[in-house]
Symmetry: C2
């Protein structure tokens, strides 16, 4: 034992378990009168937000909520949803935000699996919640949220949210968790097969990812943040905590609607927002009539979930949005990577810039390492921008693990790496580029085809708004690329499947070009991700009906 | 035990002890070709910097350095000094940077107290080191640093730095500390009485304070940082780590010289720098001939150590510097507070702005709380901007404690707070304002006089460059204010003591005005702090000679 270990222990003065709840406490004092939340005509300052969160935490304690107790919520991005992100952790409970697009069977499964003690329900989702609760044996305490901006639905439950928090102490003396490794939230993956997995976050990781987000998003001092990413998705990429730490203004948004987005950006001088590429696409293709002038400094928009096609990036930049590209998974608290801009990229032409920016990029400060592994041998593959393998990473902002699923946790963390399940190459400059989800690779005549590469080309076609490519089973080739395409709404134009295939063949190796093209709207998840598993089913049906 | 504690443990994939060494590892990959260090004509990129630090760590390991072993260094802000901040922690050793202005007796005491195993010595300080070593019984391994920019002094020791690191492995597989609470560095306080205390930092705190510094200094992406704060002072406020994390360029500086500062700012487009108010004053009062144009975006200068007088702040802003005001102590890894700008201050007039900015401000994100306590009762005093007490704080960026000094550690952390020893008021907006060090309060005729308040007035006098006020013992009043004043160099002007006292009496309560004025240069520490204890001695001599 060295002299540096003697009489130099942790004490109340020099050690506090890391928790993002301290960011709100600080904000309530440093930014007391500053507007914390905007929702329609509603404005609340940081002092009020903190009081409401303390009341919520206190009311939950009175209902017996403590360490390891799950508090679930079905709500869009409202002030109450933001309050949950502080009030529940301050009660020592675990926040479980539920995807509002799920069906009652899935929600009932999650609530039972999480052993939810309390369920908060926004009135819009009253019917969904009732049907879910009807399937359960152990019913949680239900609290209805009556949002002034929501005319539909019923306020259900034993009590209404306002009445509930009124039972709490506005000066509640909340405590940091005894251990920063304590669970703070539970996020179910949108797993396309089988039952969803429950991803558990801890206080330390939420704190660190929020710090990292302030730096990566360059939030600066007092940003204005528009809530386009659902908070039920990876806790809104930790932005409830990050934006609060930065003393920012949270502009709530119940629904991702381009007209409303333009209106709120213009009205509140939004400085930052995030969204899936589909959200970018929606903004880019909004009718002229709903577009509004952007703030003079532009709007930073961080896009994650999938690589935004380069045509979308350049289109957004022309409109005055500064597009950043992030990457992450539910298991990594949202963003684990960002495509950090390098000064020498300034000299590239537009296409060169887009190519750089289309890559998922480098790990955030809180991720200590990443690599691309050979799926067979587990060895690190060369950083040559060519060799395809599985992207893995390690660090301090990766989940505790999957709830009640030790085998899945062990598999995810095998060999001391978190396995993303994404196929990527590592470039010589240490930037990772996802080529596909393992299951999204199309193998045609023994050749691997990246569906992302085909999609990237399709997005360059002037008449295409959205496109997704999946494998269609084929007796001859094994699989062939099948493109699902949604065209822009313009009168007097029509693109045929054959014309589009020819257009592709003029620009890409023939074996990679779609053999089938289907026109129409694309199915999406609530977070704007295109549901490729639905398209894969359709492609299989097409193949079956051809036989 | 809840379900959230079962099968959800730490593993190599989801947990890594926090250490700032990971910032360099990341920078070497993400910013490999970017210039990391500039020193005269020397340029090194991040890949090279990392290789040199790995060599250094490896060479230290070969000399037997491991956990809890002290590695000391006497050097100014050179590339080698920066390398120490990574190489020593990567070897598991503890970095002990020594103030170059100390005398041999003090340095010998520190080296023996710290049980230094290795001592690195820049050639400029060879004589100082030799005299220090001569006083020691257990002599450490001495390595001389031969800096090309230093023509004076001898390269002493068993080996030269370049030869030493050449013995190390450039691919050394360094390890994170087993525990993030492990000591990373040892900084002696410049204690004005008795032996200095050894402040011990840990890896976790250094990591967190660096993250906080990136946010507080708004370093952004690829800042250019000029090294005006000595790295031997609180490890350069954690900027060796923060600037590296941000992929910034370190511009080294052996000596705080206004001509050189202007030249380097202009040549390298410096974006950020830090310094004591004296450094600001030096820049502000530099002769016209040495001034150079600043970069178009201005230069962010964060000032700490003492409140910069408002005349200095406004003068610097006129020159194109954006002045931020920080506060901290050796015990808080440098900055614990910053005077965060509030948007509504934009509407204040110049004097209103200066008043706001003169306050020490609010805690950084990593400090969880602060307060002003009644020194007698230990109770929290009202936040009224009036009631004077001791500023205290708690959080994750406060030292492990004082080395081999459990009683001082216990006293510093009494009651779950770190006691700063600074007298402050807490304003209703949660901003702290230091009125004085406990020992800097002048008690005259039973009235408390803040020496800072008198100094603030003196700095407004157009002919005064620097001023410091201390207590002069007085048989009648107990104490009276004694002003030491350094005038600006202007031909044909002369200010008398009587004229200055009259000028003060026209502007301030008479009992607060200096009764004695002494003209001449002010004694300073190596970090630019005015040495009030020297002035107090002079004031005592003046009083004694009057009797």
């Amino acid at each position: 034992m060295s002299v540096y270990d003697q009489g130099l222990d942790k004490c109340a003065a020099n050690y506090a378990p890391l928790t993002p709840s301290t960011f709100l406490q600080r904000a309530a004092r440093v930014y007391a009168d500053r507007t914390a939340v905007v929702h329609g005509d509603l404005r609340r300052d940081y002092a009020s937000l903190y009081v409401r969160c303390r009341r919520l935490a206190s009311a939950l304690r009175q209902q017996g909520i403590g360490e390891g107790d799950t508090v679930s919520v079905i709500a869009p991005n409202t002030p109450e949803m933001l309050e949950m992100h502080f009030g529940v952790p301050m009660s020592q409970g675990v926040l479980n935000t539920i995807n509002t697009r799920l069906d009652p069977a899935a929600i009932a499964f999650m609530l039972e699996f999480a052993e939810a003690k309390v369920l908060f329900v926004d009135r819009q989702f009253a019917e969904l919640a009732k049907q879910s609760l009807d399937r359960m044996t152990a019913r949680p305490l239900v609290i209805g949220i009556d949002d002034v901006l929501e005319p539909e639905g019923e306020v259900i439950g034993e009590m209404d949210y306002e009445a509930f928090i009124a039972t709490g102490d506005p000066e509640f003396d909340w405590q940091e968790p005894a251990d920063e490794w304590q669970a703070i939230s539970l996020n179910f993956t949108s797993g396309t097969t089988g039952n969803p997995k429950g991803v558990v976050y801890h206080h330390r990781g939420a704190y660190l990812n929020a710090m990292s987000a302030i730096i990566a998003f360059d939030l600066g001092n007092s940003p204005t943040y528009l809530w386009t990413v659902p908070m039920f998705h990876c806790n809104g990429w930790c932005c409830p905590w990050a934006v609060t730490a930065a003393g920012g203004m949270h502009v709530c948004l119940r629904k991702v609607d381009p007209a409303l987005i333009y209106e709120l950006i213009n009205k509140h001088n939004v400085s930052h927002m995030c969204g899936a590429p589909t959200v970018l696409n929606m903004i880019l293709n909004a009718p002229e009539a709903v577009r509004r002038e952007l703030p003079s400094g532009g709007v930073s928009i961080s896009s994650g979930g999938a690589a935004p096609p380069s045509a979308v990036i350049s289109g957004m930049q022309k409109l005055g949005f500064n597009v950043a590209h992030l990457y992450g998974l539910t298991e990594s608290y949202g963003p684990s990577h960002w495509c950090e801009w390098q000064p020498d990229w300034d000299d590239l032409d537009a296409s060169g810039k887009s190519q750089k920016l289309a890559r998922q990029g480098v790990p955030c400060l809180t991720i200590t390492d990443h690599a691309v592994l050979d799926p067979e041998t587990g060895q690190i593959l060369p950083e040559d921008g060519q060799t395809l393998g599985e992207l893995v990473m390690r660090g301090n902002t990766l989940m505790k693990g999957y709830l009640k699923n030790p085998s899945a946790t062990e598999e995810a963390f095998a060999g001391g790496w978190f396995h993303t399940g994404d196929l990527a190459v590592m470039h010589p400059d240490f930037y990772a580029e996802i080529k596909d989800r393992s299951k999204d690779i199309i193998i045609s005549g023994g050749e691997n085809i990246s569906s992302l590469e085909v999609e990237e080309l399709l997005y360059q076609h002037p008449e295409i708004m959205e496109a997704a490519v999946v494998a269609r089973p084929d007796d001859n080739w094994g699989e062939t690329p099948c493109a699902f395409v949604c065209l822009k709404e313009r009168a007097g134009r029509s693109l045929t499947a054959d014309a589009l295939i020819d257009w592709c063949r003029a620009r890409m190796a023939h074996f990679k070009c779609p053999k089938t093209v289907v026109f129409g709207p694309l199915p999406k998840t609530s977070t704007g991700k295109i549901q490729k598993f639905v398209l894969r089913e359709r492609a299989e049906q097409l193949a079956a009906s051809d036989v």
